[in-house]
């Protein structure tokens, strides 16, 4: 087991290096740079001398190989550099947004799980009944509806609904306060995006739970349990559900990693100052250092979440052994 963990940890380095090379090259393929945008982006006079000075200061005019060396050596020494747009430390830029993204990811995953698992189980247990059809319709609708669209509908619904009800339109707060500072403000801002994204991701997990449960419920040991006279509730909860959870955990793990990487569009819709919004801003502002660091962060999170999911397999299914 320990050998397996060490091997997986070592595999992290070539993965990160590969991602670093790809993101470095892709970013430089896009014409234009942060200095052009910064000084001329709004159509006013842009002093060419100042643009040149900015490019030299930020190292944009350096040879690509030097830029790559600086970038990689920065990572090795844990110095991610400064945002080219704000000149703030990249770690600071990410750190002030990470708690929001983490909270949203946890809340959305929680919403997803509490919707997906019961509905998936009920749907499988009541296969081909009206209950099953309703659950399948709801889950297909969730897959079909992008979460940002659902987000827009939620906001408009809140504005129109509250105005019709009380005469005063209400919408969620548009700036973040940590839950320990102002729980009401925090939850009234984050519950809506968590619902929108949680519902979206629950749809995939619901369908996965249903199909895994259907497979498990056809297994011999379930038939044996029924033959022994066990009640259906016990069969499902004690015998079937845990064994059906392997693919569901995989899906939920990948979803969580996606959410941690930032809800790029949903954060825009709800004006959440999270990693996803930062990602969009850094790309549109051609902020190489920040974009590179964010990509590496997402890659790291993906690798780690997958690793944790793999370890959970062994816990869920004792037959699985890593050596």
């Amino acid at each position: 087991m320990y050998t397996y963990i060490v091997k997986r940890m070592l595999m992290l380095f070539p993965t990160l290096f590969g991602a670093a090379v790809v993101v470095f090259l892709l970013l430089r393929l896009i014409p234009g740079d942060v200095c052009m945008l910064k000084f001329g982006g709004e159509g006013g006079y842009a002093d060419p001398e100042q643009i040149k000075q900015c490019q030299e200061l930020l190292g944009i005019s350096d040879p690509k190989i030097k830029q790559f060396y600086d970038y990689i050596s920065g990572f090795i020494t844990f110095d991610l550099g400064k945002s080219m747009w704000t000149q703030q430390d990249v770690t600071h830029e990410i750190a002030i947004r990470f708690p929001l993204s983490l909270q949203i990811a946890i809340m959305a995953t929680f919403v997803s799980v509490i919707i997906a698992v019961p509905l998936g189980v009920i749907s499988a247990a009541k296969q081909n009944t009206w209950v099953d059809y309703i659950v399948r319709t709801v889950s297909i609708a969730g897959i079909a509806m992008p979460s940002f669209w659902l987000g827009i509908v939620i906001i408009l619904g809140l504005l129109i609904g509250t105005q019709a009800w009380s005469g005063v339109p209400w919408m969620p707060p548009i700036f973040y306060k940590p839950i320990w500072v102002d729980p009401m403000h925090n939850l009234s801002q984050l519950i809506w995006p968590a619902l929108a994204t949680g519902y979206r991701y629950s749809s995939v997990a619901t369908r996965m739970t249903r199909s895994a449960m259907l497979d498990v419920l056809k297994e011999d040991y379930v038939r044996t349990a029924r033959a022994k006279g066990l009640i259906e509730k016990v069969i499902i909860n004690k015998h079937a559900l845990k064994n059906a959870m392997l693919p569901v955990v995989t899906v939920i793990g990948i979803e969580f990693a996606f959410l941690m990487g930032g809800l790029v569009v949903t954060e825009q819709v709800f004006n959440l100052n999270g990693v996803g919004k930062l990602f969009v801003e850094s790309v549109t502002q051609a902020d190489y250092t920040l974009t590179q660091s964010l990509v590496m962060l997402v890659v790291f999170i993906f690798v780690m979440v997958n690793f944790i999911v793999d370890l959970m397999y062994a816990w869920l299914d004792p037959r699985i052994r890593y050596s």
């Binding site: 052009m36 945008l37 982006g41 006013g44 842009a46 100042q50 000149q87 408009l156 700036f175 919004k277």
Partner: protein
């Protein structure tokens, strides 16, 4: 039935506007009230706090209230492009002496920076030195506006003198630019010229409390503010909201009180429809014009006949009528902001400039004739546009239709902002591109430098000695009487003789805000009138609107 709905909508909107106007008039007599917080939504990010190097409203809207200027647009009459008043100076804005080459400003006494340091003329000199003559390696984005300055001196602590190399009509508006923050000399001497990029210490109406990157900036009232009795607000919060829909919904949902950049007409109509008299709308022409720049280095746009055909095909009057319903453009005009006294009146443009005539059919017939003469009948080209809806994509699509009516076949390529700029500034790989000239303070002679071949922001790629010579004369013209004929000749050279760029429509600024926000008046630029010292909150009205 089909025709009734739009009529009803127009009637409702009309009634709402009338009501808003009447309410606003009635309210304007009310005394300003102290207290409260103003929530502003801002659609752009802060690169740094240093006004001397930045050029985005994303910095101006949240940061400008912390700083004062030497002179500024009149906050009580910001619509006027020629009304400047003292901010840190006393009395009225000085007129030039010694043939318009010397400007002596008397500086206010008793003004203090937020850290308690008293302000003297030395602070203002140090700030303008940083703008006008920055040390090597130190950036200044508006250095080029002050090429006429020979020396800045401080005979005493209350006097500041600008000595110019020659008289200049651009000097006073350049001094009033909202980016010319006045810093403390002590800070510059002790901490260096980059300290203000990450630190704030001004003499503005508000002092800095907090900035969370990507989230908000918070400021509180400066009790020692030099305009006595102001500001009225206790605090303000500038909330970052890059998406226009969020800013709109924030005002609708009571999360924000105002947005200073401006909304498109549809957004205004939606807000008015949803909130009725809870919304007040202020509108103004905007010192921003949308252009089409042909690349003179690419055939056949090296031929003036082809370029002239491009402008002759455009029907600006009907464009104004229809586009102003869906985009943030409205007023047809020449190269100078249409509301400035130096702008060419429309009657003269119609009579003298290609493409401005009321007889659009004749203009288009002439365009076709010119294309034929140039051997370019049925001209095909690609129009480069910027991937931003308002107003670029909307006006760009309209332009395609205009050119099609003169027999041209045009494809549009829309690029995101970064590659768009690379094509425009660096690569020059376009036939005709959308272009724009957006400025802060209305400074016609400086603003029209955009059309100068040698200007860093002229992307048409051409040379013209006559235009350069006219502009050199214009820069040294000290009086309106001298400036007007030179500007007319310059404009005629740009739009008629060379047809170097196509002027489409001037932008139109629409600022709907909650009607309890009082005292603020719209200016011809989203960079102006942002000190927030004249804004107050009508608490009774706010309570009536149910906003927390």
């Amino acid at each position: 039935m089909k025709g009734i709905a739009p009529k009803l909508a127009v009637a409702v909107l009309g009634a709402t506007f009338s009501f808003g106007a009447i309410s606003a008039k009635a309210a304007s007599h009310a005394s300003p009230e102290y207290g409260g917080n103003l929530n502003i939504v801002v659609g752009s990010k802060i690169p740094s706090y240093d006004g001397h190097i930045e050029s985005t409203f994303g910095m101006i809207h949240p940061i400008r209230p912390f700083y004062s200027l030497l002179i500024r647009e009149n906050p009580d009459n910001p619509a006027s492009p020629t009304d400047f008043v003292c901010d840190l100076c006393v009395g009225s804005v000085p007129a030039g002496t010694e043939g318009g080459t010397k400007f002596t400003f008397k500086i206010r006494t008793g003004v203090k920076f937020h850290d308690g340091t008293p302000l003297t003329s030395a602070d203002i000199k140090a700030s303008f030195d940083k703008v006008v003559n920055p040390p090597k390696g130190i950036a200044s984005n508006r250095k080029a506006y002050f090429k006429m300055v020979e020396a800045i001196t401080t005979p005493d602590a209350e006097t500041l003198v600008f000595k110019l190399k020659h008289p200049s009509g651009t000097f006073i508006p350049a001094v009033a630019m909202p980016f010319n923050f006045i810093y403390s000399k002590k800070d510059l001497d002790a901490n260096g010229y980059t300290w203000h990029q990450k630190n704030i210490n001004g003499t503005g109406a508000f002092s800095f409390v907090e900035h969370v990157q990507g989230s908000h900036v918070h400021g509180k009232k400066n009790p020692n503010y030099h305009h006595k009795g102001r500001p009225y607000l206790d605090t303000y919060t500038a909330l970052a909201a890059p998406k226009m829909s969020v800013r709109l919904q924030a005002i609708r949902g009571g999360r924000a009180d105002i947005e200073f950049r401006g909304f498109p007409p549809k957004a205004r109509d939606d807000l008015v429809k949803a909130l009725g008299d809870k919304i007040k709308v202020q509108e103004s022409d905007w010192n921003c014009v949308l252009l089409a720049s042909p690349n003179h280095e690419v055939k056949p746009f090296d031929d003036p006949k082809v370029r002239r055909a491009l402008t002759l095909a455009v029907d600006r009057q009907s464009g104004s009528k229809y586009l102003s319903n869906i985009a943030i453009v409205k007023t047809p005009g020449g190269i100078v902001f249409p509301q400035h006294p130096l702008a060419t009146p429309m009657s003269e443009l119609k009579a003298n400039i290609a493409g401005y005539s009321d007889d659009v059919a004749a203009s288009r017939a002439q365009a076709k004739k010119l294309l034929k003469e140039a051997g370019q009948s049925g001209l095909k080209f690609t129009f480069l546009n910027r991937g931003v809806d308002q107003p670029y994509k909307i006006v760009g699509t309209w332009l395609l239709g205009q050119w099609k009516k003169a027999g041209m076949k045009v494809d549009q390529v829309v690029k995101p902002t970064t590659p768009f700029y690379a094509s425009l500034r660096k690569k020059g790989d376009f036939d005709v591109s959308v272009d724009f000239n957006c400025q802060s303070i209305v400074n016609p002679i400086a603003d029209v430098s955009k059309f100068l071949p040698s200007a860093g922001n002229n992307y048409a790629n051409f040379e013209d000695a006559k235009l350069e010579s006219l502009y050199s004369e214009l820069l040294k013209a000290g009086t309106t009487a001298e400036q007007t004929p030179l500007l007319r000749a310059y404009e005629k050279r740009v739009l008629n003789d060379l047809s170097s760029q196509v002027v489409t429509l001037w932008w139109y600024k629409i600022n709907p805000h909650r009607s309890y926000v009082k005292g603020w008046k719209i200016a011809p630029s989203h960079y102006l009138n942002q000190s927030l010292d004249n804004i107050w909150i009508d608490s009774a009205e706010k309570k009536r609107q149910g906003v927390e």
